[in-house]
């Protein structure tokens, strides 16, 4: 590639002026050019992998450092004690202040975060502006009911072991889209190890396709590049030909 450009450059140069002795020039230039190429390569890799994420994501602290461990120990029903289903089938999500007040009318301990919570929010009646790691774009309709009640999924599958966290981790917000980094995944290349590492549509699709292959009653999602074969499209057995449908966009989008 470099030689190609090299020549191009050369001819243009020739047109303009023909002062230099060619060969000597060429050898020296080659080295320098290679160095520059490497600089460019390394530089842009650094930009892409190191600086870009810093620029793309802003770091935000949760208004209150929340200790899930303490709370999980204190309640009876695990996650559902605070993150429960309403009668109409909707999911309550992050608790409102009114829920917290039940126990935290007054500070129960010496924890400065709790004191801050009581002082700033409970007494003043201000809702806590929690930053929700798993907040999906507005176009997404996610039915907790179908996944938890019907699918008997564990919270951990999507939300990871947040229930075992003692501190709220930093919330990284995508400056361009306004969504949490957790959606795209910590790994900028989009690699993931566990099911909860990313929360993009492909991740839903992946899980659904797997279940589908096992013969579960689930809706399949379109694989993003839907004209290409999907990794999970292979028939689970010769009898069951998994019919991949992409007809249910409304199921998760509003």
């Amino acid at each position: 590639m470099s030689t190609l450009d090299d020549k191009a450059e050369e001819t243009v140069e020739q047109v303009e002026t023909t002062k230099c002795p060619e060969k000597e020039q060429k050898n020296r230039a080659c080295g320098i050019i290679l160095i520059f190429f490497v600089i460019g390569l390394v530089g842009s890799l650094a930009v892409g992998w190191l600086i870009f994420p810093k620029l793309l994501y802003s770091q935000k602290k949760q208004p209150i450092d929340f200790n899930h461990v303490v709370h999980v120990a204190a309640v009876e029903d695990g996650c559902e004690s605070c993150h429960y289903f309403r009668e109409d089938g909707s999911f309550s999500g992050v608790p409102k202040l009114a829920q917290c007040v039940g126990c935290h009318e007054e500070a129960q301990g010496e924890n400065p975060e709790e004191l801050k919570f009581v002082e700033e929010h409970v007494t003043k009646g201000n809702e806590v502006p929690w930053l929700v790691y798993s907040r999906q774009p507005d176009c997404v309709f996610f039915s907790h009911a179908s996944h938890i009640k019907m699918g008997k999924l564990d919270c951990v599958v999507c939300h990871g072991h947040i229930g075992e966290s003692k501190h709220s981790r930093v919330y990284e917000e995508n400056r361009l889209t306004g969504y949490s980094r957790d959606i795209w995944g910590k790994n900028l290349a989009g690699l993931k190890k566990d099911t909860w590492d990313r929360m993009k549509m492909d991740d839903c699709a992946e899980c659904h396709a797997e279940l589908k292959a096992k013969g579960e009653t689930v809706t399949t999602l379109p694989w993003p590049i839907n004209w290409m074969p999907r990794p999970y499209e292979k028939p689970a057995s010769s009898q069951v030909r998994v019919n991949i449908q992409k007809d249910a966009c409304f199921v998760c989008h509003k």
Partner: protein, 733 residues
Amino acid sequence: MKVCRRSFLSLIIGGAAGTALSPLPLKLMDDSSIWSQAWPWTPVPEDGEVSHVGSICTLCPGGCGITVRKVNDRAIKIEGMKGHPVNNGGICVLGLSGLQLLYGPTRVKTPLKRVGARGEGRWEKISWDEAIAEVVKKLGGLREKGKSHTVACISGTDRGTVAQLLGRFLTVYGSPNFIRIPSIQDSYELTMHLMQGVQASAGFDVENADFVLSFGSGLIEGWGSPVRMIKANSKWKERGKVVQIESRLSNTAAKADKWVPINPGTEAALALAIANVIIQKSLYNADFVKNYSSGFEEFKQMVLNEFSPDDVSGITGVSASTIESLAKSFAGSSKPLAVCGRGQGETPGSLNEFMAVHTLNALVGNIDKKGGVWTVPDPDYIKWPEVEMDRIAANGMSKARIDGAGSKRYPDTRYLLDRLPNAINSGKEYPVEALFVAGANPVYTIPDSKAVKEAFNKVPFVVSFSSYMDETAVNSDLILPNHVFLERYEDVPTPVGLQKPIIGLSKPVVKPLFNTKHLGDVILLMAKAFGGQIAKAFPWDSYEVCLKETLGNKWDKLINDGFWADSNFRPAVWGGAFHTPSRKFEFVNKGKAESIKIEGDEKAYPLILMPYDSMRLASGFIGDPPFVIKTVEDTVLKGKEIVVEVNPKSARGFREGDQAILSTPKGSVKVRVHHFNGIMPGLVALPRGLGHTAYDEYLADKGVNFNELIGPVEDPVSGLNAAWGIRAKLTRA
């Protein structure tokens, strides 16, 4: 130089390679599309817990029950209340758009005092204390001078606690001039009063009627309680017949089983001709006529002599055979019902016509019977102690009303708002020194807008209680904004036209958004500020207390269900139903029923302009919210121009969509012409509900207000406005 350029190129290539190997391009491409999917300037509605609040819609006198869906503390949507006796889940276009009024830009957010000239729109924000002090000071001054009777109050209704408080305040203050907004209610009340001797509203058992003879009533276009009427119409589609008598193919006419086009203004004659056939062929209810009516013989002679089908056919343009067949089917039905009041019924009309139509109901004996016209007493829950007037009040109350209602000339009429502008402008009566306007927008809704504005300008002190910046509010000196209907408690007695007395309760669905105050509370505060007998007449701490106390044991039911219906209510029995001197139904014979002559010279104005109403245009005191305006067809409004309907036959060279000048003796406006085969040649029809000058940019300056083109025509018997049209012409723009 050399090295630089080549190296630069190399650097770029290296950079490109590196970039391609980094997540940057894909991530940026993905994020930029996500950015475009959630542009920061596109709102994202907040999710939360859903709740429902039941209430009553008071945007029109229909009194529908509503259920408001809320998410957290935001009201999301208004829906019809299931199981409500009026609308049972149904709801109209205006009711559905109520939240646009609540959250809309036309709200008056705080008390305002005029700074610039009247109507200029320059205001100063003042506190509630200042505002009330200002009113009390002004009224106090007038009272001291013994001019308490020069205070007038225009109210949208005279029923329910708020209107009653307002009336009570006026009484103890010392003014007889409490004036209700006119409508066919006035004519029907008067008809009931004269023919049945009752002071009650007319209720129509439309659900059970099996033959409805409508003299131009917009049964499905907002007449009566709109949603209820539309529901009834669906019932008629299953079992029942509707005949619409009207000179234009309105929606009602189009939906009716039979449309009888008629020369406009001749409805009374047609009714009497139908009576003629019924009597001649002895199709009437002999029992009722013989035992429970008086004056039948005189009436019979009159119709037989003067209203033969053949004669009337010439007047009305309805063939004699049609008249006969109408009479036969009407009288031959088991539960026939005749109704009148044009369009949505916002113009009272000629008393003769109302009585002639009501006579038909009497002839078939369908009064206080299933499927007929019922006498509906007001629910009698407002039982406050009699007011004790001081000397000044008594003196003021002894003065004649400025609108002439209850005078020798119009002894039985209660309110004559249409006469007020003229009374003020002519200066024949005493001047009006202060005017209150509540739940009404007279500057927009009263005919002859020019005269109304002139009259307003003659009143030195105008106070508006409007929640919105409407035409009247714009032309006032002080605005004391009421909460909107979704922010306040209010009792809503029997909706117009309903045959059973019920009470609905409007509830605060959301906390008041702005610095507004309930009109009831404002009245109480004013009364307190006056002290003396005035304060004594209002022994409540707040409106809510007053309302709770007034409703007594109905309160709990109202809070839970949203309405209270008198389950014991039965229509009166003929034996005791009539309170006329004869204790019988009176076939009142006021002589030859002359049709109302409309304004304008036929030669100068060859056409007749008539208004038409539509469910998609609110023509009352509420201006259309954006959703409603959006439903308006382009054959009604095009850009900012109003479209008038003419029959292609009388279009005289005006092609579809042409611009034209529409002139009447009252004024001329620019319009566009729409050819409509459903309208009688010789007529021009103009939609009501457009031409607002106030409100927001979604409504203001669109089309023409019909009231600018017409003035009131006094009915000789009642004094009410009986104008059904006006002479007009179309000329080239």
